[in-house]
C-alpha cells in the first residue's frame, strides 16, 4: 500500500467505499505496481480477497507484498486470500485431464464459449460463510490481468460477460469491490483489447491509468498516472474529476508529484 497514493485517492483502508469497480490500465509502461498497491490495501482493510493472478507466480506477489507489509502466505492460510495462480494451474489443466471443471478449463478446449467455470470459482471463493461472526469486512475481486484471457483464446465479448457476472455478484449483491488490470495496446491495433478496455471503462467508478512519458525513458520519472473518477450509472451533469501526477517507483514505495515537479528537476 502506497501511502501517497492513498492520499491522492483520498481513501484509507478503514473507510474505503464499497460496491466500486476500479480499472487499472497501463499504456507503454508497466502498471503492475498498482496491482500490488490494491492487493496490500484490501488485505490491510481486512477484506476477503479473491485474486485471479494470471500474470505472475504466487511467490512474486508474495515477495513484493512483504515489502509493502502484507504476508500472502499467512493470509492464504487464514482464509482471507483465495489465490488462483494462473501459470501453475495452466500447466495442471494442460497436461492432466481434470475430473471436475477447472477455472481455466478453456485452455483445453478449441472454442471455449464462456468463462463460466472461472466465474463459478470466483463466486465460490467470495460467498459469505455462515459462521456467525463476520470475520471479513467485504469481499474484493482482483484480476491481474484481463488481457491475458484474450491471449489465451477467449473473445472480448466472453470476457466482458465474465466481468458483468462478477460485477453483479461482487459489487451489487455482496457489496464488495473489484479491481481489474487491462493493458492498453495504444498504437497497435488490437481490436479485441480495445473493445475490452472500452467496455470495462464504461462500467468503472475509478480509472487509474499509468502511462509512459511522451518523451521517452527517464531515470527519475517513470511515468504518469491519470486518475479519473466516474459515475457510471448516474447522468453526469458535471464533468468527471480527473487528476494527473507523475511518479517514480522506488524499492518499497512510489512517490508521486505534480507534473514537472520531480525532485530531480527542481
Amino acid at each position: 500500500m502506497f501511502v501517497e497514493l492513498n492520499n491522492l485517492l483520498n481513501t484509507t483502508p478503514d473507510r474505503a467505499e464499497q460496491g466500486k469497480l476500479t480499472l487499472l490500465c497501463d499504456a507503454k509502461t508497466d502498471g503492475s505496481f498498482l496491482v500490488h498497491h490494491f492487493l496490500s490495501f484490501y488485505l490491510k482493510a481486512n477484506c476477503k480477497v479473491c485474486f485471479v493472478a494470471l500474470f505472475q507466480s504466487f511467490s512474486h506477489y508474495n515477495i513484493v507484498g512483504q515489502k509493502l507489509g502484507v504476508n500472502l502466505t499467512v493470509a492464504r492460510e487464514r482464509g482471507q486470500l483465495v489465490f488462483l495462480e494462473g501459470l501453475k494451474s495452466a500447466v495442471d489443466v494442460f497436461f492432466q485431464t481434470q475430473e471436475e471443471p477447472h477455472p481455466l478449463q478453456f485452455l483445453r478446449e478449441a472454442n471455449a464459449e464462456n468463462l463460466k467455470p472461472l466465474f463459478e470459482f470466483v463466486r465460490e471463493a467470495l460467498k459469505p460463510v455462515d459462521s456467525g461472526e463476520a470475520r471479513w469486512t467485504y469481499p474484493v475481486l482482483l484480476v491481474d490481468d484481463l488481457s491475458v484471457l484474450l491471449s489465451l483464446g477467449m473473445g472480448a465479448v466472453a470476457v466482458l460477460d465474465f466481468i458483468h457476472y462478477c460485477r453483479a455478484t461482487v459489487c451489487w449483491e455482496l457489496k464488495g469491490n473489484m479491481v481489474i488490470l487491462v493493458h492498453d495496446s495504444g498504437d497497435v491495433e488490437d481490436e479485441e483489447n480495445d473493445i475490452l478496455l472500452n467496455g470495462v471503462s464504461h462500467q468503472s467508478h475509478l480509472i487509474l491509468r499509468a502511462e509512459g512519458l511522451a518523451t521517452g525513458f527517464c531515470r527519475d520519472v517513470h511515468g504518469q498516472l491519470r486518475i479519473l473518477w466516474r459515475r457510471p450509472l448516474q447522468p453526469t451533469a458535471q464533468r468527471d474529476q480527473s487528476l494527473t501526477y507523475q511518479y517514480k517507483i522506488q524499492d518499497k514505495s512510489v512517490s508521486f508529484f505534480a507534473k514537472g515537479m520531480s525532485p530531480a528537476v527542481l
Partner: protein
C-alpha cells in the same frame, strides 16, 4: 594421484584434498570451492519449487549466480555484454525472446552462444527446432575462449578421466570402491559468462560430455497424436509435452524425490512461430490458429516458473502479419530483445552506422519479485560481428571530419538519429526531432 588414508573425518575437509581425487572416489560433480566466483550461499529464487530440505542450502550450481538486486538466480546468456544490459543475466524460470533480424543472420549466433554457455557450464540442454536437426545445431556452436588457467584444468580433467583409476584397488578406503564412478567431466569452467569465438567450432569432446536432448519437429510429428483437440497446433503440443517430460523425468521441478537435480535446464527453441512449426501467423493476418502461439507461451512460462530452467526463443516477428499478436507475445514473455541488422537496408551505407552491423533493442525487462527492474540508461545499442567476437556497444556518432560544414550531411545525420531505436518500454510518442 593415489588416495592416501582417507577417512570419513578427513573427507569432511575435502577442500583440502585434491579435487580430482575426491571426484574420482565419490563420483561427485566437479566443484572447486574457493576458486569460483559463485558464492556458496545461494538464496534460491522462489521460482524453483522448494525441495523439502529445511535449513540453509549451501549448494551452488555451476554457471549461476544470484542477482545483486533481489538474490534471484541468474544464468549467463553467453554474451557478457548482454548479461550486463539485462541486469546481470537471465533469471531462471524466465523466457528470453529474441526478435530475429530480417535475414536471420545474427539471431542464430545469440541462440548458439546461449547453448554453448550451457555446455561450458555443465547445464543440460534441450534444443528444439523445426528447420535443423538439433545435433547439427550443436555441431555449429562457437568455441569458448577459455583463459589459460581453465584450459589447463580442462586438459587435466580429460587426462584424469582417461587414466585407469578403476584398476587401482583401494586398500584402505575400500568401501568407496563400490560407489559408482562419475561419468561426466563436469562443468569446464565455473566462471559466469564466457566469450565465444564465432569463427571456430566447439570441440567435439565438450558436446559429447554434455547432456542434451533434441526435439526435431519432422521426426516427432510423424507419430499419431493422442490428445484432445485444443487450439494449439500439433507441433506446439508435442513440444510442450516433450519439455514437460524432460523436466519431470530429470527432476528439474523438484517433484521427483529420487532425482534431486542440482543443475539447470537450458531450453532453446528456434524460429518459433514460423510456418515450419505449422503455425500460420506469418502467412495470414487472421489465421485459424491465431491464439496458438500465445497459449503456447503461456503454458511454457508456467512450466518454467516451476522448474530450474531458462529458455531462449527466437521468433521471426518481422513476418507476423498481425501486429497485435506481436504485442501480446511481448507481454507474455519476460525479457524481449530485438535485433535489427543493416543488411539490405539504406543504413548499410549510412556513415552513421559504418562501424556496426546492426542495432539491438532491449524492448522489455521483467520486474521479478520487485517493483522496479534494472533498466540500463543506454538505449542506443548497436552490435557488430568482428572476425571472432560478437560485441554490443553503445551507439555513438562518428566524428564529423568533413572539410566544409555542409548542411546536407548534417541533415542526413539528424534524419538517422531521429530513427534511432526507442527506449525500453517507453517510446517517444512524437515524431518531432527533440533538440537537446
Amino acid at each position: 594421484r593415489v588416495p592416501i588414508g582417507l577417512t570419513l573425518q578427513a573427507l569432511k575437509w575435502r577442500q583440502w584434498q585434491p579435487a580430482a581425487v575426491v571426484r574420482g572416489l565419490l563420483g561427485l560433480q566437479w566443484r572447486q570451492p574457493g576458486k569460483s566466483n559463485v558464492t556458496s550461499f545461494q538464496r534460491r529464487g522462489p521460482r524453483a519449487s522448494g525441495t523439502n530440505d529445511s535449513g540453509p542450502r549451501l549448494v551452488s550450481i555451476a554457471g549461476t549466480r544470484p542477482s545483486v538486486r533481489n538474490g534471484q538466480l541468474l544464468v549467463s546468456t553467453g554474451l557478457p555484454a548482454l548479461d550486463q544490459l539485462l541486469g546481470g543475466g537471465l533469471a531462471i524460470g524466465t523466457v528470453l525472446l529474441i526478435e530475429e533480424d530480417k535475414y536471420n543472420i545474427y539471431s542464430p549466433l545469440l541462440f548458439k552462444c546461449f547453448l554453448a554457455e550451457g555446455i561450458v557450464s555443465g547445464h543440460t540442454l534441450l534444443v528444439a527446432s523445426a528447420k535443423e536437426d538439433p545435433a547439427n545445431i550443436l555441431q555449429e556452436l562457437p568455441a569458448p575462449l577459455l583463459d589459460d588457467n581453465s584450459k589447463k584444468e580442462f586438459d587435466e580433467d580429460v587426462y584424469n578421466h582417461k587414466t585407469p583409476e578403476s584398476n587401482i584397488k583401494m586398500k584402505i578406503a575400500w568401501r568407496y570402491q563400490l560407489l559408482p564412478k562419475m561419468e561426466q567431466i563436469g562443468p569446464i569452467s565455473s566462471r559466469f559468462g564466457h566469450y565465444y569465438d564465432a569463427s571456430k567450432r566447439i570441440p567435439q569432446e565438450l558436446i559429447e560430455a554434455s547432456n542434451w536432448h533434441g526435439f526435431f519437429l519432422p521426426e516427432k510429428i510423424s507419430s499419431t497424436l493422442k490428445v484432445e483437440p485444443c487450439s494449439l497446433t500439433p507441433g506446439y503440443i508435442k513440444l510442450l509435452q516433450f519439455i514437460q517430460n524432460i523436466i519431470y523425468e530429470e527432476g528439474f521441478d523438484g517433484s521427483n524425490p529420487q532425482k534431486k537435480q542440482r543443475n539447470v535446464l537450458r531450453i532453446g527453441i528456434q524460429n518459433l512461430g514460423s510456418p515450419l512449426w505449422g503455425d500460420d501467423i506469418c502467412c495470414a493476418e487472421n489465421g485459424s490458429n491465431s491464439h496458438s502461439l500465445t497459449k503456447f507461451l503461456y503454458v511454457l512460462r508456467g512450466l518454467l516458473r516451476t522448474s530450474l530452467s531458462a529458455c531462449i526463443i527466437t521468433m521471426p516477428t518481422h513476418l507476423i502479419q498481425n501486429k497485435a499478436i506481436i504485442a501480446r507475445v511481448t507481454n507474455l514473455s519476460d525479457t524481449v530483445i530485438g535485433l535489427e541488422s543493416f543488411i539490405g537496408s539504406e543504413r548499410e551505407t549510412n556513415p552513421l552506422y559504418k562501424d556496426y552491423h546492426g542495432l539491438i533493442h532491449i524492448r522489455q525487462i521483467p520486474r521479478l519479485n520487485n517493483l522496479i527492474c534494472d533498466e540500463s540508461d543506454v538505449k542506443d545499442l548497436a552490435f557488430k560481428l568482428k572476425r571472432k567476437l560478437f560485441t554490443i556497444e553503445r551507439l555513438h556518432l562518428p566524428p564529423d571530419l568533413s572539410d566544409t560544414v555542409s548542411r546536407s550531411s548534417k541533415q542526413d545525420l539528424a534524419e538517422s538519429t531521429k530513427r534511432l531505436g526507442p527506449g525500453c518500454g517507453m517510446m517517444a510518442g512524437g515524431k518531432k526531432h527533440l533538440d537537446f
